[in-house]
């Protein structure tokens, strides 16, 4: 069991150091999420009261849209030089590949969020009055669930020729319960509502995370076996 985590860390650090050298994916994700904010500021006039209603949804929209870009890259980049075959034939548990990719993608998306969410608040001139600790907790748990399912489906979609198109089609319906919970929890916290309401949503999100982590962890082998 210990070796699974060690191998996972090796794979994650490989991906991260690769990303750190080129900074291509993370740069694209940042620019893309800023562009989404820009387009939405045209769609919803940021000067009126609309802002309060759309901010919780926008936090998750920019996360999901920019995250999908990163997820697409995470397995497609392994197709170059047929690196996937190398990973598959390495003497490691296939689940550690999955965990490593989840870890790398999670760190990638959260580092994008660290910049893009403040940018969102600044550009929409939103005054943050909620509890920041709870907000960060909700964002982390929601992002983790998104990455758990997203990494798994990215591996699945990478088998297809049109994987960039396939991934959102597969991912978005499966994400719907998580997104409902995440948006509601974010709204409650940002409006400074009672925390107990947010806690029940947090519980749903954690249950979703755990359930899908377990399911994806065991089913990942079957995806890797193929082709």
């Amino acid at each position: 069991m210990n070796s699974i985590f060690k191998d996972a860390w090796t794979i994650a650090s490989k991906d991260l150091s690769n990303e750190f050298k080129t900074k291509q994916t993370i740069g694209m994700m940042l620019i893309f999420s800023s562009l989404v904010i820009l387009i939405f500021s045209f769609a919803f006039d940021p000067t009126n009261n609309m802002v309060k209603a759309v901010i919780p949804g926008l936090v998750w929209l920019i996360t999901v849209f920019s995250g999908i870009l990163g997820l697409n890259r995470s397995f497609l980049s392994e197709h170059e030089n047929d690196a996937l075959t190398g990973l598959r034939s390495a003497p490691i548990d296939p689940s550690s590949i999955y965990l490593g990719k989840v870890l790398a993608n999670f760190l990638l998306v959260t580092s994008v969020q660290i910049i893009s969410i403040p940018v969102l608040f600044i550009l929409f001139d939103y005054r943050f009055i909620g509890k920041i600790g709870w907000f960060i907790l909700v964002v982390l748990i929601g992002t983790l669930g998104f990455i758990i399912v997203g990494t798994f489906l990215a591996a699945l979609a990478a088998n297809a020729k049109n994987s960039e198109m396939l991934l959102p089609v597969l991912l978005l319906p499966l994400l719907s319960p998580l997104m409902i919970a995440a948006v509601q929890a974010t709204r409650i916290i940002l409006e400074n509502g009672t925390i107990t309401n947010a806690v029940s949503w947090l519980r749903l999100m954690s249950a979703y995370d755990l359930l899908f982590l377990a399911a994806c962890f065991f089913l990942f082998e079957f995806i890797m076996e193929g082709s």
Binding site: V149, F152, L153, L156, N159, A160, K161, L166, V169, L170, L172, P173, L174, S176, P177, L178, I180, A181, Q184, N197, S200, W201, L204, A207, Y208, L211, F212, A215, C216, L219, F222, I223, E225, G226, S227
Partner: protein, 236 residues
């Protein structure tokens, strides 16, 4: 084996046709007209039947997906796929009839009520599943990938339902009673008979379509095999 399956097909066909006419009679002539909603209420019998078959088809997709993973087998793979295809059709019918019903009794085409939203998301998962099956590659690979996606999709459905129910009861008042059956206080025994019979008929229709679909899909594979064989012969 082949003769046996022919008998089952014929049996299904000969129960299906008369029971469809009986169902139509029961629904349109025999069962009483609803007091408040009037004639549009008749759509309810087919709506419930289709919804039931749609959900059942999805459970069957999950069942055959698990069996495909345990024991990769062309038969299970085909059955899961055909069930999903029929499921998409019945989910679409459920959504469309539900919208017509909603417009006439609630005066709105769509409302984010748990059942409606769950059915819509179910439809999207089904369609995504069919996209996975349309990938190119060997059938063993597609069988594995689609089975994995089918299982994940089935796990997701109850969570979706729960999430949407919480979402709606927390923010909006529940406008439309608990379910369609409870509206107007219970259901007439005559209506119940018509409802159960139409559910039975649509389930038989599902079984019939399923068998025919599997047969056609198998024929397609045989033709494909023969084609590649012939091409190899011509080339070599």
């Amino acid at each position: 084996m082949k003769k046996n399956s022919g008998i089952i097909d014929r049996l299904l066909f000969f129960t299906l046709v008369p029971s469809f006419f009986i169902a139509l009679y029961l629904v349109f002539i025999w069962s009483p007209v609803e007091k408040f909603m009037g004639a549009p209420q008749k759509i309810f019998y087919f709506h419930v039947g289709c919804a039931w078959v749609a959900f059942m088809a999805f459970v069957i997709v999950g069942y055959y997906s698990v069996r495909t993973l345990i024991n990769p087998n062309m038969d299970h793979h085909i059955k899961a796929g055909i069930s999903a295809e029929i499921g998409v059709i019945f989910t679409t019918i459920t959504l469309v009839t539900g919208m017509i019903w909603g417009k006439s009794s609630w005066n709105t085409w769509w409302t984010w009520e748990p059942r409606l939203a769950t059915t819509l998301i179910l439809w999207f998962i089904y369609v995504a599943y069919l996209f996975v099956r349309k990938m190119d590659g060997s059938w063993e690979k597609i069988a594995k990938l689609s089975a994995v996606f089918g299982i994940i999709g089935v796990i997701n459905v109850p969570i979706v339902f729960m999430a949407i129910r919480w979402w709606n009861t927390k923010l909006h008042p529940v406008v439309f009673g608990d379910g369609k059956n409870q509206q107007g206080g219970g259901i007439e025994p005559d209506m119940l008979v018509a409802l159960l019979f139409s559910i039975f008929t649509i389930t038989v229709l599902y079984a019939f379509l399923m068998r025919k679909g599997v047969e056609i899909e198998k024929m397609r594979h045989i033709v494909k095999k023969a084609k590649t064989k012939a091409m190899e012969k011509l080339a070599g």
